[in-house]
């Protein structure tokens, strides 16, 4: 059984079909990129996979549960337990230090553990910057904190929305390297991007246009 199984999902806002009968399967440990121009339905797709929105039609089976049928309270629980989110604008709590930001994720999930949070920061190479506030960190550093935050609770899926959209090339490579490590450790990655280079890093790329899944590309050079 696939980790994520999206079946004939549509999201309709009045006349607009943000998603139109999309089906997609993502296997455990897979690294999938979702591409498409703006307005293609990427964000809607991301919201639905991230348990922040529900489809108008269709089923979204995540780890055996149809999240399209769950209450928003249950969706919060599922998101907390199974999804690690990374955003284009990083989104850190600006009055908390790097390590505290990681701990916030632990706090909502289970128990804050500073040692573990520091370890996660160490993993993204920011152990030395743990006590810095977001305003004292560069964009690349902030995004690495967000990666640490996303993986701290060992989620089933790491869902990243344009994770390198606000980063320079150096930092983009650092983040992509982190993704590669995560992938090698068996983490499932879904990365929404419009950057072909980022998409190329994935095993498989699906392309959305006008809410429809128009193309699926397997990266044959993956892992080389």
């Amino acid at each position: 059984m696939s980790l994520l199984d999206i079946r004939h999902v549509s999201k309709i806002y009045g006349e607009l079909r943000a998603l139109d009968d999309v089906s997609l399967k993502v296997e455990q440990g897979e690294w999938v990129a979702i591409m498409g121009p703006s307005g293609s339905g990427k964000s809607t797709m991301m919201n639905i996979i991230g348990c922040m929105d529900k489809p108008t039609k269709g089923e979204v089976i995540l780890d055996g549960t149809d999240i399209a049928r769950e209450s928003s309270k249950r969706l919060t629980d599922i998101r907390r337990d199974k999804i690690g989110l990374i955003f284009q604008q990083f989104h850190m709590v600006n009055y908390l230090t790097a390590v505290e930001n990681v701990m916030v994720s632990q706090y909502y999930h289970s128990m804050p553990d500073e040692a573990e949070a520091l370890e996660a920061l160490d993993r993204v190479g920011l152990r030395e910057r743990a006590r810095h506030l977001p305003s004292q960190l560069s964009g690349g550093e902030q995004q690495r904190v967000c990666v640490a935050r996303a993986l701290i609770n060992h989620p089933e899926i790491i869902l990243a929305d344009e994770p390198t959209g606000n980063l320079d090339e150096t930092n983009e490579n650092i983040v992509l390297d982190l993704f590669r490590q995560l992938h090698n450790e068996g983490t499932t990655l879904i990365v929404v991007t419009h950057d072909p280079e980022v998409a190329d890093a994935a095993q498989r790329t699906i392309v959305l246009e006008h809410g429809r899944l128009v193309r699926e590309v397997i990266n044959e050079h993956f892992g080389e």
Binding site: S43, M46, N47, G50, M52, D53, K73, T76, D77, R79, R80, D81, L85, F87, Q88, Q89, H91, M92, V93, N94, Y95, L96, E100, M103, V104, S105, Q106, Y107, Y108, H109, M111, P112, D113, E114, L133, R149, D161
Partner: protein
Amino acid sequence: MSKRRMFLRMITASLLRRRSRMLIALLSIAIGATILAGLVTVYVDVPRQMAAQFRSYGANMILMPAEGHSLTPAEAEAAEALIPADQLVGAAPYRYVYLNMVSRQQTFAAAGTDFEQVQRTSPYFKVEGAYPSSPRQVLIGKTVADTVGARLNGVMELTWFPPAEEEDPQADADTFEIRPGMTLSGQADGYGMSDEGSTKQPVYVVLTVGEDGTIASLTVDTSGETEAIGGRCGSEDFTAQFIGKPVGGDSRLMLGRDIDGISGATVTSTAVVQAVNHVVPVEEGAAPRIPRTINFTVAGILETGGEEDDYIYMSLDDMAAITGEPDTLDLVELSVSAAQENLERYTEAVTASGHATARLVKRVTKSETAVLGKLQALVFLVTLVTLVLTMVSVSTTMMAVVAERRKEIGLRKALGASDGAIRSEFLGEGLFLGALGGILGSVMGFVFAQVVSMNVFGSDIRFNFWLVPITVAVSMAVAALSCLLPVRRAVAIDPALVLKGE
């Protein structure tokens, strides 16, 4: 690290690292708490303050002689003992007589009293100079001072003429029976000379009644007279003419018919005859009443704008010295710090004891209660309005905080925060602010109340320690209430917003 510690860490970080915004919320709570604590302090302290204030408008209870008795210091003391000592602020005894300033031919009302007590029962007395502190000193009213042109430290010659007919109009020559051996006294206006010309001078006579009901002896006091003229009326030559003459009843002596006047002192001679014709019995065993003159130093000039300005005040000892009547009081003014019901109770108890007749100065005490009630109602209303305004202010600030933190709240929800977690975080911040604001407010409120009290009542205020926990609790409650709406808004934030661009 426990969840609770992380919770506190997040809240304190939010408050400490986002200072400017939180300071505004804290400030509004603190100001609200300040006014709350301040007004409640004033509210609680007002009865005490007002009671003290009203006391300064004079005594609120008066002791007068009990029916059929005179009021002596001992009786007054016994009556005062019936009022709890801690509520008796002051008890000023008064003895009223008329004193003459002979040289100016002025009569003034004079009061003997205890100046230490007067300062307690009449704190509103404004004295230029000082209260009399040693014998033979007087405090004179402004009117008296203006009338006679008296100055501070100046000398005032005051004379007491024992009242005869004035004191007891019933005791007229016509209404008492002449008995052998009785002593009678009388007075009439004679004639005197001074630097400023002729003056009317009282002539005082004391006579005794012989076995046959006629005059047996006569003494004439002409101390106010000019020695060489009227003074001669005191001589044996003149007074001898009265021996054996009838006295009392319908008998009237006439100058020229019954008595030969002294030439050149006709006025005084006439006065002596008049005085004899209007004698009154002198109490048995009592010394004949002879006018007394004492020189006083003006220690202070009193100005109240009231009738006190017409009086001359002296110590009870001086009053006894000039009148020769110690242990006589006309009334005692009491200042009692008690509620109306208690005042009435004390009044009844004193009157029932028979030591004195007590009376309340009703107007002042009644208005005291009425004004107090109104003032407390006003303070209560202002407090209520303040609380509502504080709530609006805190609510608005928290609303702005929520708006400002939409992204953060969205992020927290995206990270898996339940509605309950968001709610408790914001309420936690609110309660923390409330507690901090409450503590600040308690302190600043006391300062505020102190300033109000100093300005309005001119006195210190008491610090009520129990007010601190109450202020903190109310501030926290107000903060929590104020946060209800903002929190609801925070909970409604869609986590998906963090995924949308900018």
